[in-house]
Symmetry: C2
Subunit: 485 residues, 2 copies
């Protein structure tokens, strides 16, 4: 049944089957192709290539302006945190089609030689304005603007959206956890349940920006320098005939920063074993630094374990908890004064489990010098190149934003800054520590009602008059053109 797209007629399907047969026999080809997923320009939607083919054919290569924004805040989110900009700029700077990719595009027979030539020479040559990573933002506020020849700005849509969407999603989720657990050490344990390799690595980065202390993901330390944390799994305990033996073997092999997992069989009994074992380890110069709980009633268990440890002379041994924790659990544990010093947070963080996606868009706002606007039902956009201006109250907290046209100066601090010109970064690349420090300042400046898990108010974002007028003008122009057509 032929509905859309290019690959479903029988000749194309036949070619696809041939390719499958070839791939089936070649691990190496498949592996190489999979490896490049995160940086391949073919990690895009087919319609981008279709559109670029049509743009080139019609000479539609004038300057386009696209903006990335979130249409509305999801349930229970009072604010979002911009993240993903540095990886997005890396993507733009490095976007190239390899000989293998070009050959494949040619071979699939779907595109003209003009498109293949264009892609062979492709370098992103545009300008980018963006909010710095770690900046708090709200609905309808662009966090990134691309100004580039139309086909270039179009080609980068899918991956740019993917990078900004996911990391902003996770940074916002992580920020909720940081606010719900003041003074606690929060660690990303999400790699195994994150949606794949890229997600695991980027969730470590986004949560660190938002104030997490670190991650369990080793590669995140190698790539981003994020501190890593880790202890032992239940399998380690299970592999030994007794829990005490497992503790002791582990302690002698990993004597630094020793944290023992105590919930494999009976948590309180295991805490008593730790107390009994501690003097023997101390004699060998090994100090137990902490214990980890991963199941059960964390309020009751943390209190009884704290008591057992304190009574056993181990009041300096910390308690770390993991297992199904989210920001609501963190808030509940804080209310119950559970004596837990730190948390490993996996699934809820790395998938943003209550809200696994934002209603975001990358939309054309201007082309060939004219402001543009989509007004599909429920998805209207504000046209033109925009700026976001933020004012602060006497207490230093954010007091209100104004969304305006770029050249329509408003009171407050402009949040979008030039970060790339002619396809090259402007200025030095901020370190992850600098980004993290910026996010910390931003969270400190959030109005109190927005810091709660159930935001008690919505933040005021005003639309400047000139922008409202431009929207009406774009609509009138469109109606005129349609009448003439």
């Amino acid at each position: 049944m032929g509905i859309m797209g290019a690959a479903h007629d029988s000749t194309v399907i036949d070619r696809a089957s041939e390719r499958r047969a070839i791939l089936g026999g070649s691990d190496i080809t498949r592996k190489a192709a999979t490896m490049d997923a995160a940086t391949s320009p073919l990690l895009t939607d087919l319609y981008q290539l279709n559109m670029i083919q049509a743009y080139l054919g019609h000479g539609e290569t004038k300057t386009a302006v696209f903006e990335f924004f979130v249409r509305r805040l999801p349930p229970r989110r009072g604010f979002l945190v911009a993240a993903g900009l540095e990886p997005a700029l890396d993507f733009l700077e490095n976007l190239r089609f390899s000989a293998d990719e070009l050959e494949w595009l040619e071979r699939c027979g779907r595109f003209g030689a003009d498109l293949i030539d264009y892609l062979a020479k492709f370098r992103f040559s545009g300008d980018v304005h963006a909010m710095p990573e770690g900046t708090v933002f709200f609905a309808n506020e662009p966090i990134l603007r691309v100004t580039a020849p139309l086909p270039e700005a179009q080609l980068v849509e899918t991956r740019l959206t993917s990078l900004l969407h996911f990391q902003s999603l996770i940074a916002a989720k992580a920020a909720r956890m940081v606010l719900a657990a003041p003074g606690k050490v929060l660690v990303d344990f999400g790699l195994r349940r994150a949606h794949g390799a890229d997600a695991g690595l980027m969730a470590a980065r986004a949560s660190y920006i938002a104030g997490f202390a670190g991650t369990a993901t080793v590669l995140a330390e190698k790539v981003f320098g994020i501190p890593t944390y880790g202890t032992m799994a239940h399998s380690f305990i299970q592999a030994f005939d007794s829990e005490t033996e497992a503790f002791e073997v582990f302690a002698r092999a990993r004597p630094d920063n020793l944290v023992l997992l105590i919930d494999t069989y009976d948590t309180e009994a295991a805490a008593r074993k730790v107390v009994a074992l501690a003097p023997r380890l101390k004699a060998a110069g090994i100090r137990v630094r902490g214990v980890r709980l991963d199941s059960g009633d964390l309020v009751a268990l943390s209190k009884s374990v704290r008591r057992i440890l304190d009574q056993g002379g181990l009041s300096d041994v910390t308690i770390f908890a993991s297992g199904g924790i989210d920001e609501d659990a963190l808030a509940a544990l804080a209310r119950e004064q559970a004596p837990i010093d730190g948390f490993g947070i996996g699934t809820s963080l790395a998938t943003s489990s209550d809200v696994p996606a934002l209603d975001c868009a990358y939309k054309l706002q201007e082309y060939a010098g004219l402001a543009r606007r989509k007004h599909s039902a429920g998805k209207s956009t504000w046209p033109g190149r925009k700026q976001v201006w933020r004012r602060y109250g006497p207490d230093g907290r954010m007091a209100g934003d104004i969304l305006s046209l770029e050249d329509d100066a408003q009171p407050g601090e402009p949040l979008l800054q030039p970060v790339m010109r002619g396809g090259r970064r402007i200025g030095p690349r901020p370190t992850l520590e600098e980004i993290r420090a910026h996010a910390r300042r931003e969270l400190a400046r959030l109005p109190e009602p927005l810091r709660r898990l159930e935001p008690a108010a919505s933040y005021p974002v005003q639309v400047a008059d000139a922008l409202v007028c431009l929207s009406a003008e774009v609509d009138r122009r469109l109606a005129r053109q349609e009448a003439q057509a």
Copy 2:
């Protein structure tokens, strides 16, 4: 504050800062490291390396058996669909530490020379049993078993879990959509909202296995041979002075399988423009194949658009819809008899939005010839090497499963099959089409109550007596050992 792990004391933090500084100045290093994310053995949890260090030091390298299973079905899921096995086997066959990775591990100063040597020579040498991809499965049924020296089986936990978890999650979600929309063409549009590159690519694969017709993701065609679909974005329409001009330019540039997006401004007006344009295109030998709706009331709009097209002599033009569709929307549109022929499904599919994670585990079930069991509160496991036996009723539908020890034959068909021996695949690699055909047969054999979006019954999975006895025996053995300790 030192709670756990190895990276938080000041000397280690200092080294991490140095590395950050180095990375900050080197785009190339960062890019190379990010590219390898999906295949790097450092895409793992730190505790795996800690445990392996301890295992090696204590000679704990005897044979271990781990099984991967889902503890419980999530809300509204009557069944799951196994997926991710072929990428998981690729991962096991190709797992190697590069010189760069080994050097980094050495440089971070956290591990002994024995561990670095072990990793330098690392090849996965174990056996794997698994359910074929596309097989329907239920709670507590292992879909994959690893039998290997303990450190090997431990090292692969994180990425193996990631691959099986995410793809099974998406395959199950996609299967619900396929069942809710019989006879419709379903296409994965999820790349931009999927959680990163790996997720986008693997969601295309998992949904194709479950019965989707294809994907918009170009790379998924190149890597897996999945048919791709794609039309145009709103930006294309917006870039032209009139909608009709945009349609015509696109049609002449992409005349094959022409599908026009008609909701940018006024959907019904655009449908009339398509009718007016069609004869002119026909004269040029171009046939409009379909129109796409991406917003608004899809029931009302699809009916009025169908009427406009039919009255305009375009009854062969199909209607394709997208925009916030999930399986409930598909079922509602089917009930309302909305005349829509196919759907592009993005966020709900690629993030499994109502259930973005499964409660899955990879657990040690046997070590050194002895069955093992964890019994943390709410997380007890069935010990030993297991098999799942499936019986079918006279109607050919699945009638019930038995979970037993591997060598305890039960009535029915054994679902776990040997797929890897000594680190190498056994037998030919199934093609994606074969896997897809298997999934289609599996869905056809699902009992009727489980095929509904709100499953009307739960599927019977019985635990064989010998397995119940073994569990009790393991508990008694453990109690004895603890008493002696």
